[in-house]
Amino acid sequence: MDAKLTEVLQFFERFKAACLRNDFDSANKLLSQLKVQLTEFRSLPPLFENSRNAIHELTVARDIYEDAVILSVKLEDQDAFERDFFQLKPYYTDVGNRLPASPQQYPILGLNLLRLLVQNRIAEFHTELELLSPIDLENPCIKHAVELEQSFMEGAYNRVLSARQSVPHETYVYFMDLLAKTVRDEIAGCSEKAYDYLSINDARQMLLFSSDQELLSYVKEDHPEWEVKNGYVFFQKAKESAPCKEIPSLQLINQTLSYARELERIV
């Protein structure tokens, strides 16, 4: 084992310790250093050079990135999550068959699916799904995300919210909370279009809030254009009817005439 690898391993240990201590600042710093050190290994993606220590190095790198992903969830930093996940991905897809399986793999894949769902990036969600094998889909972590998506699409929002109780991994909680918010936004958007107004009571039920207070603070924060008076919520203001587009008749007539002229010129 060469010196560089040992150094990385030492840093990694310190990083893991910092994570356990919930000392996120120093963990972040260590992670950054680790990543820089990893760039020096030629066996890592995208070069994948074969060397004596390749397997070992790859495994270490993968572990580092897995921990980095988990750290980002703890930090509730979605950008970092995305970044780290993408850097981790080649270790699963490209060299997954050469490395010993990681226990973290399915939870992290599931997390990523969940993240896409939260960010309402349904297309990418399905792309990711297509890349998984049927066996992978059976895994509870993945299955959870798939079921959530189905409920979400069906409009069975209550099922989505209740799924929070049955998370397969503790890291999922953060995303589940976010998902509840996404669901609520979806419902709010629909109600806006569907109703002119709603009674506060109905609105609370509709938006799956447990108390009027929560509803009012939600309206205040996210939908200041809604009006609450006399026990009703009015969506009137938000509805600004867009004028329908006019047919560019003059332009069309001109075009047709010019075609006719051109046709005459054909020799």
């Binding site: 990543k35 820089v36 050079e49 993408f86 850097q87 050469r98």
Partner: protein, 1000 residues
């Protein structure tokens, strides 16, 4: 196996990391992966761009390179280039990849277009210094790698004359590179001014060489219109005392004459005499003085050049100093050549002695044409004139005086003018030949005005572009008459004789005729003014335009419109305002003139803008005349690239509008004239059987122009076409129009005794002014038949004429490395009865088979008996062109063609100076190494000076001795009598035919 990464996502994510080292790592890896993952990377371009724009980021250039590559893959070359420029030195010019190649091409294009735009608007170019650096790096690299041609091409494109010079001087074969460069500048540099700049540079480089190529320099100088330079070179060469250099000077003179730029040649000639007296006076004041005054008075009198020059040589003979005498002698020669007289004389002799015209064809035409049909009658006269153009053979007319007398009025005009075509170039005796028909002084009243007018026109045709001696006479005739027919003839004659001289006095004379507002005279005056001012772009054009608006006569407007077009000949962009003015005019006739202006201003440039404009008018103008002319004009614009024309007009030739079809036919005829181009023939073939009569006419004429001098052996369709012509002419029910076309076509097909072709470009790829102008006016025959004769201006003899230092034609043999049958004269037609026997070849098969076996046996016997002799005898046999079997064939006429085929045809032919060398044959011409004479420049045709390797031995001259008029300075008539006295020697100058009278 190494694992491939399946996505660039990881690296892209890394770009968003905070640590700069990570970004750098990501960037450098992405650059190596961009070829595969550019679709993925393209979504992250904004991120990379922001990296590039981040001033603090150290590896900005790396980011720029990456973005540039992504844009390249996305097809956004402009963005790609701008980022590649940002990448600075990281963009490796020498890298061998599609990316680099494409971007370099793009960069050079960009740079060239910036430079060109700047040069055209006369502003200083604002060029991105980085762009400039890349282009320079590329140019330097090309020069370093020895790719001089690329470097030169780029340098010319980019207007970097400094780099051009560098490339030329550093190349290992400077001569070759220079001539390449001249070619390039003529074919690819579109703007005239810039081309001049390039050529000026080339001349500069040429002059720096230890052994300059004077022939090329002089060609350049001629394009630049710098007669002083040419004159000084000629003088230097002749003064050097070296015989070879003197020969070279003569050669240069001939080459200059070939371009037919009369005004320029006159300037060179005048400049030549001037410095002679100045430079030599201080050294040897006494002997040169009388000489200089002599030549001075000679040019002043300017009547008959030849007598003057011979006098000069007489004066020189008295001189004491031998070197000065030698100089004077060669100067006389050069002046003779520059005045065009030497070449005209030699051509005349060649055409006369080699005349192979087939009178039987004319006879057939004459017999089949109805007596009453005056159109066909005069068409036959035209055909005769064209067939014998420049040969001085007027046997046909002489034999058919009765028939000829049927020509009345304008037909008589053109019959008389036809003599001018036949005697074209007969400078010395032209006037005496035409004397019986010319107006007889002020008293007049003798002949009909039509024949008088025709005679004046004929004089113009004889002296076309060499009118020094005849101008004054024509002017007087013009002034002394009020008859519009005579004025018409005189105007045309003057225009032809003074072509392009821009003589103010003549112009004023013609103008006064124009202002009489007579339709007939005014038309000719308009054309004549144009001829006089060819290519001068003078402000006279606006004067003419103003009168065209004023007058009521369509004929005058048309004449003026063409005249205006002629004034802008070859001026390219300079003519744009005038063209714009004419093409926007209300009057269709002026728009029609505008088409000609476009055609002539951009003649032979294949300029895209001009082509686009013409095509636009060809499909959008309301007047049929304008549309027809627009298509026709394409032929003029494209004649330097004849292969293009059939492609460009092929759609137009299928137009529903017969005028457009007609134009398409003539366009092909003009631009592919004399090429025998297969595509052109294929395009014209269906048009010769068009439903509309005038389209057939145009197609037949055009086809004849294309096929001129193409033998049946090289394209079988020539034979088909000849038979088709015969059929049309013999057919009683054929339209007059197409019949006329067929008659003219037979004339053009055998033009000039089958020894000339239509050529618009000289051998050095310069345009021949006279030829182009001739064809342009010729195409007017749609309105005015006598203008058909202008086609004779475009004829150029297809001859190799070798000359020794005395400008005489010595006996000299050279090789044509091709089967003789490919380029031989068409067989003379036989008496009509023979045609029936040709149809039954099967009947004689058995005999021919026997004959074959007999021939074989004979050959075997010979082979056994004279093994060694046969080989040596093969040469002379082929030299004669007729094999012994031919003699046998005389007795058994039917057999001879089949039998000839069985005999293996020799693969070469020995030609004797002067020889007919058709354009297609030129590439087969080889000079023999052991010959006594060596050509100064190895040109396969035209006038070539020969260096005599054994000057002491007596020379055998094959053509004429000396031109009769130079030997006998006493006068023309004396020469005529002399030659008639010396009977029928073939080599002799043709005697002037006896005048004949119309019996009307």
């Amino acid at each position: 196996m190494a694992t491939m990464v399946s996505s660039a996502g990881g690296l892209l994510a890394m770009l968003n990391e905070n640590h700069p080292l990570l970004k750098l790592h990501a960037l450098s890896n992405l650059i190596s992966l961009v070829d595969y993952f550019w679709p993925e990377i393209s979504t992250s371009v904004p991120v990379i761009e922001s990296l590039y724009e981040d001033e603090g980021f150290e590896q900005r250039q790396l980011a720029a390179l990456l973005v540039s590559k992504v844009f390249y893959y996305l097809g956004e070359l402009n963005d790609s280039l701008s980022y590649a420029l940002g990448a600075g030195p990281l963009f490796d010019v020498s890298e061998d990849s599609d990316y680099v190649h494409t971007l370099l091409a793009k960069a050079i294009d960009e740079y060239a277009s910036i430079k060109t735009k700047a040069a055209e608007s006369n502003k200083e170019a604002i060029v991105d210094p980085r762009l400039e650096a890349i282009v320079e790096r590329m140019l330097d690299k090309c020069i370093m790698d020895g790719k001089y041609q690329q470097a030169m091409g780029m340098a010319i494109e980019c207007r970097r004359l400094d780099k051009l010079e560098e490339a030329i001087t550093r190349s290992d074969n400077v001569q070759g590179t220079l001539s390449y460069c001249i070619n390039v500048s003529h074919s690819f540099v579109n703007r005239r001014e810039y081309r001049s700049e390039v050529l000026r540079l080339l001349v500069k480089v040429y002059q720096k060489l230890p052994s300059p190529d004077y022939i090329s320099i002089c060609q350049c100088l001629m394009f630049l219109d710098e007669p002083e330079g040419v004159a000084s070179i000629l003088e230097k060469l002749t003064r050097s005392g070296n015989k070879d250099e003197a020969l070279l000077a003569l050669q240069i003179s001939f080459d200059l004459v070939e371009n037919e730029n009369q005004a320029f040649l006159l300037k060179v000639r005048d400049r030549l005499s001037q410095p002679k007296s100045q430079t030599s006076e201080p050294v040897q004041p006494q002997p040169t003085e009388p000489d200089s005054t002599q030549s001075g008075s000679g040019t002043a009198s300017g009547d008959v050049q030849m007598s003057d020059s011979s006098r000069t040589s007489d004066a020189n003979a008295i001189e004491i100093d031998p070197s000065e005498a030698m100089y004077a002698e060669s100067l006389t020669k050069i002046k003779g050549i520059l005045s065009g007289e030497t070449s005209i004389q030699l051509t005349l002799q060649f055409l006369y002695s080699h005349n192979k015209s087939d009178l039987l064809i004319l006879k057939t035409i004459k017999q089949s044409v109805e007596m009453r049909n005056s159109v066909c009658h005069s068409a036959t006269i035209y055909a005769n004139a064209i067939m014998h153009a420049g040969t001085t053979v007027d046997t046909f007319l002489r034999e058919n005086l009765d028939w000829l007398s049927r020509a009345t009025n304008w037909a008589k005009f053109s019959a008389t003018a036809g003599l001018g075509v036949i005697h074209r170039g007969h400078l010395q005796q032209g006037r005496s030949l035409m004397a019986p028909y010319l107006p007889q002084g002020v008293a007049g009243g003798g002949g009909s005005p039509y024949s008088e007018g025709g005679a004046l026109y004929a004089l113009g045709l004889i002296h076309a572009n060499h009118g020094e001696g005849i101008k004054q006479f024509l002017r007087d005739s013009l002034r002394n008459t009020n008859v519009e027919v005579i004025q018409h003839g005189a105007c045309l004659g003057l225009g032809l004789a003074a072509l392009g001289t821009a003589d103010e006095e003549i112009y004023d004379d013609i103008k006064s005729v124009l202002y009489t507002d007579s339709a007939v005279a005014g038309e000719a005056a308009g054309i004549s003014m144009g001829l006089l001012m060819v290519g001068t772009a003078s402000e006279k054009a606006s004067e003419m335009l103003a009168y065209a608006h004023e007058t009521q006569h369509e004929k005058i407007i048309r004449g003026l419109a063409l005249g205006i077009a002629l004034t802008v000949y070859g001026r390219e962009e300079e003519a744009d305002t005038l063209i714009e003015q004419m093409t926007r005019d209300q009057d269709p006739i002026l728009r029609y003139g505008g088409m000609y202006a476009l055609a002539l201003a951009y003649r032979g440039t294949a300029n895209n803008k001009a082509i686009r404009q013409l095509l636009h008018f060809a499909v959008s103008d309301v007047s049929d005349d304008v549309r027809r002319t627009a298509v026709l004009a394409l032929g003029f614009v494209l004649y330097s690239e004849p292969e293009q024309t059939p492609r460009i007009v092929s759609l137009l030739s299928e137009s529903y509008n017969p005028h457009v079809r007609y134009g398409a036919a003539l366009a092909v005829g003009i631009s592919c004239a004399g090429t025998g181009l297969s595509e052109a023939i294929s395009l014209l073939e269906p048009l010769t059987s068009d439903v509309v009569d005038f389209v057939r006419q145009g197609a037949l004429i055009a086809m004849a122009m294309v096929m001129v001098q193409t033998s049946e052996a090289s394209d079988s369709r020539v034979g088909t076409f000849r038979r088709q012509l015969e059929k049309i002419i013999l057919d009683k029910h054929e339209d007059t129009m197409s019949k006329m076309g067929a008659i003219l076509a037979s004339g053009i097909l055998d033009a000039g005794g089958r020894n000339v072709t239509i050529r618009l470009l000289s051998k050095t790829k310069h345009d021949k002014v006279t030829a182009v102008v001739g064809l342009a006016v010729f195409s007017q025959f749609w309105y005015w038949y006598p203008l058909i004769y202008f086609v004779s201006l475009s004829f150029s003899p297809t001859a190799f004429i070798g000359l020794n230092s005395d400008l005489k034609v010595p006996r000299f043999e050279f090789l044509s490395n091709a089967k003789p049958s490919l380029f031989e004269y068409p067989k003379p037609t036989t008496v009509p009865t023979a045609t029936s026997t040709v149809k039954l070849p099967t009947a004689v098969l058995s005999i021919s088979a026997k004959a074959k076996t007999r021939a074989k046996k004979e050959a075997e016997q010979k082979a056994i008996a004279l093994k060694s002799v046969t080989e040596s005898s093969a040469g002379p046999n082929t030299g004669k062109g007729k094999s012994p079997s031919e003699k046998e064939g005389d007795s058994m006429q039917v057999d001879s063609p089949t039998e000839k085929k069985t005999e293996p045809e020799p693969s070469f032919e020995i030609l004797t100076n002067p020889a007919r060398v058709v354009p297609a044959q030129e590439k087969f011409i080889k000079f023999m190494e052991d010959s006594r004479y060596v050509p100064v420049k190895s040109a396969p045709s035209g006038f070539v000076l020969l260096r005599d390797l054994c000057p002491t031995e007596p020379e055998v001259l094959s053509l004429t001795d000396t031109p009769s008029s130079t030997t006998s300075p006493a006068g023309n008539t004396a020469a005529g009598q002399q030659s008639s006295a010396s009977a029928m020697a073939v080599d002799e100058e043709p005697q002037p035919p006896q005048p004949f009278e119309y019996s009307t």
